[in-house]
């Protein structure tokens, strides 16, 4: 699991049949120093994470399999939204 910042939304033109009706967000992995990863990640969200919020992402596909069935390729799932009061310091780019 790792922390990530929600940075955008994805509208799919086509998707795997098991993920119909699913919400996809662009997330950037957060490092301990507040910097973000170089590559964007597409995560599945059903908790309702807002733009710029910090979320906990699990890389285990088990929770996706439970929800979407054994044949789902879903893997990165938002398993929690970090309490904004407790959220780790954001990177310098965000505080300006």
């Amino acid at each position: 699991m790792f922390l990530a910042r929600i940075d955008g939304t994805v509208v799919p033109a086509a998707r795997h049949a098991t993920l119909e009706g699913c919400r996809f967000l662009v997330a950037q992995r957060l490092e301990a120093d507040g910097s973000t990863g170089a590559e964007p990640l597409v995560v599945i969200d059903w908790l309702g994470a807002a733009m710029s919020s910090t979320v906990l992402v699990s890389t285990d596909g088990d929770i996706a399999r439970q929800r979407f069935g054994n044949t789902t390729p879903g893997r990165l799932v938002v398993v929690g939204i970090v309490d904004p009061v407790q959220a780790p310091r954001q990177s310098a780019g965000r505080t300006a």
């Binding site: 994805v10 509208v11 086509a14 964007p40 044949t71 789902t72 893997r75 780019g93």
Partner: protein, 97 residues
């Protein structure tokens, strides 16, 4: 899932039976800088993924990596570790880095 741009396809002959009939595409993963710049460039180290959605050359897809990439073939066991899960229509990102 990471994002990648389809750069081409791969045909195997011969291949292990589990891979016969699958479409394989060459993906170039997209970096955050290129995604924000919307310049059509990707910038990552390319890889091969299974595509069952019919993504065209130049389209952006999100692909699953790891053992979960073989889930769509369950209960069949296939030697697949990257799978195109969705084709991107539009992406919105905040403009700030």
């Amino acid at each position: 899932m990471r994002l990648g741009i389809v750069r081409g396809s791969v045909t195997l002959s011969p291949a292990v039976p589990e891979l016969l009939g699958l479409t394989l595409v060459v993906l170039e993963p997209v970096s955050m800088a290129n995604l924000r710049a919307k310049n059509g460039l990707a910038g990552g180290k390319s890889l091969i993924a299974v595509d069952a959605l019919g993504a065209a050359k130049g389209q952006m897809v999100a692909f699953t990596e790891g053992s979960e990439a073989a889930n769509p073939f369950w209960p069949k066991r296939v030697p697949v570790d990257a799978y195109c899960t969705l084709i991107v229509d539009t992406i919105t990102t905040s403009s700030q880095p």
